[in-house]
């Protein structure tokens, strides 16, 4: 990752319409990022054919293909091997968080999240990853 590159495009995958809307509004309005919202792994894979995001947010509990599986599928593509990925989850019990940390991710954001803090949380992870 180049240390000069600025975080711009974020891909957000979550099956909950309202959470997607809130996240999109927060990140676009408050952070000035460009957000691509997808409701499933499959729709994200379609978007990834045409877009190359800088950062990916993935909900953990999703139907059919869940967050960790989605991560694995995306990571298989060479160009997304090193892209920063953060899990967003409402499964916040210690054992669940510990299990998620074993995955190839750059952070975990717990739900409910504060829209005002979401941007700074993501930016921090981006900066750490770029350093």
């Amino acid at each position: 990752m180049s240390d000069t590159k600025k975080l711009n495009k974020i891909l957000h995958i979550d099956d909950d319409n309202d959470i997607r809307a809130i996240a999109k509004m927060s990140l676009e309005t408050l952070g000035g990022y460009e957000v691509i919202s997808c409701n499933s792994c499959n729709s994200a894979l379609k978007e990834l054919e045409n877009h190359t995001p800088d950062f990916i947010l993935i909900d953990v509990m999703m139907p059919e293909i869940d967050g960790p599986e989605t991560l694995e599928i995306i990571r298989k593509q060479d160009k997304f091997k090193d892209i920063p990925v953060v899990f967003m989850t409402a499964k916040i019990m210690d054992s669940e968080i510990e299990r998620l940390r074993q995955r190839d991710i750059n952070g975990i954001i717990k739900k409910p999240f504060d829209p005002s803090e979401l941007c700074s949380q993501i930016q921090k992870i981006w900066d750490e990853n770029s350093a």
Partner: protein, 438 residues
């Protein structure tokens, strides 16, 4: 010395010699007597010792309840100790053939087994027989069902041609031992059963804990999901500037409202689930005319029909019978089934509601012609949060507890719920309830 003197001297010597001979004779006679006495005494001692040994042997055999026997195969004679008569409870004056007297005490199956046991020993050569083959345990029976357990042990003596000449051994009364062994086995089995039950209980408790932990985790997740939208929407509204559009504000208010509604239902269903699981839910049963209940339930759920643009249609005639029901819970059951039917119908579809009597039960059926259920979902529709990982359901505002609660509440009404479904064709739910004639 003259002749007479010599004669006198000779007589004197002869007298002396005779005297000495008499003395020696007396001494020998005394010795012989003593020796004879000692011999007699020794004989007596030997006899006494022999008697004592025999007595001891009998006493020891009695104490140990062990009889001894000896079977001379060449002469075909059997001798056995007195204890055998005690063990077999036989009067020695009432039998002549020992083998027959022994076998007579056994039931036919045991008799056969004992004969086979001896045939086996006789048929084998000295180096071809194992220790186990020289021991047999069997039962003998007496009048009035009394029985004893005996253990027979054998030893074989072979002649110079290596042919079996003599068999000797013991017969021990092991009734007490067998009783003890049986009691011990029974106790062991009881303990094994107890252990098995404990293991089962432990597994059950572990499963229950796991289920509780999973439930807690899912509840946590399900509560946090709408809360994320509510919290997020409200915070975004709070941060809005006068430049933000009304449309954006309205959208956020809608999100907050929709999710607070979802949260309300979720909290109610979680509380009901907890109450019903801990059997802490009170049902106020009263007798109601089923026609009234169904009509009222359909009327109450009309907003769902309107929301999803479907038509709730009562088909056929509802029988004029009574059911014992908790009215509120009955409406909750109907509401869960009717709202599900509406949610999963295609727009403009109808939902058929009917009631009929079948096999001494009232059956209320609610049929939609909508999405139907996928095959893999059928087995778990009545489990908690069965649809938690189903996107369709989430979009359709389910709490994931509705059908679980429906089934539990119907069971509290002494009824059951069944269903038929076909993906793409629709689903029919049937509530089977006991009823009373008018």
């Amino acid at each position: 010395m003259d002749q007479e003197e010599r004669y006198k001297l000779r007589i004197e010597r002869e007298k002396k010699a005779r005297k000495e001979a008499e003395r020696l004779l007396q001494e020998k006679a005394r010795e012989l007597f003593t020796s004879n006495e000692e011999l007699k005494k020794s004989k007596d001692n030997l006899q006494e010792e022999n008697e004592r040994r025999t007595y001891d042997l009998i006493r020891v055999q009695k104490l140990a309840k062990i009889a001894s026997w000896r079977w001379n195969l060449k002469k075909n004679t059997i001798i056995w100790s007195t204890e055998m008569d005690f063990v077999l409870e036989l009067d020695p004056n009432t039998y002549t053939n020992k083998a027959r007297a022994y076998l007579k005490k056994c039931l036919p199956d045991e008799r056969k087994r004992i004969k086979e046991f001896f045939y086996n020993i006789i048929s084998k050569s000295s180096n071809n027989i194992s220790d186990n083959e020289l021991i047999i345990e069997h039962t003998i029976v007496f009048h009035q069902g009394k029985q004893k357990n005996l253990r027979v042990k054998c030893e074989c003596i072979y002649d110079e041609n290596k042919e079996l000449e003599i068999m000797l051994g013991t017969v021990q009364d092991i009734t007490e031992h067998v009783d003890y062994r049986n009691q011990l086995n029974k106790r062991v089995k009881e303990l094994e059963k107890l252990h098995e039950e404990l293991v089962k209980a432990q597994i059950q408790a572990d499963l229950e804990n796991q289920r509780k932990s999973e439930f807690l985790s899912t509840v946590n997740h399900e509560l946090r999901t709408p809360l994320t939208s509510i919290h997020g929407a409200l915070e975004l509204i709070k941060m809005m500037t006068p430049n933000d559009t009304k449309r954006k504000v309205d959208e956020l208010i809608d999100i907050a409202y929709r999710n607070s509604h979802r949260l309300k239902f979720l909290v109610n269903d979680i509380l009901d689930t907890e109450k019903i699981d801990s059997d802490n839910i009170k049902f106020n049963f009263k007798k109601y005319l089923i026609t009234d209940l169904i009509n009222e339930a359909v009327e109450l759920n009309k907003p769902y029909a309107q929301k999803y643009n479907v038509d709730f249609k009562i088909t056929g005639t509802i029988p004029e019978i009574y059911i014992n029901a908790d009215k509120d819970r009955f409406f909750q059951i109907m509401s869960n089934l009717l709202s599900n039917a509406a949610k999963y119908s295609h727009e403009g579809d109808k939902v058929d509601i009917s009631a009929y009597l079948k096999l001494n039960r009232l059956v209320i059926s609610i049929t939609d012609y909508g999405l139907g259920m996928p095959e893999e979902f059928k087995d778990r529709i009545f489990t908690k949060f069965a649809q938690a990982d189903n996107s369709d359901s989430r979009e359709k505002e389910g709490t994931g507890l509705g059908l679980y609660l429906t089934q539990k509440m119907v069971e509290k009404h002494n009824g059951k719920v069944s269903f038929k479904t076909k993906e793409g064709k629709g689903t029919a739910f049937f509530v089977h309830l006991p009823y009373e004639e008018k």
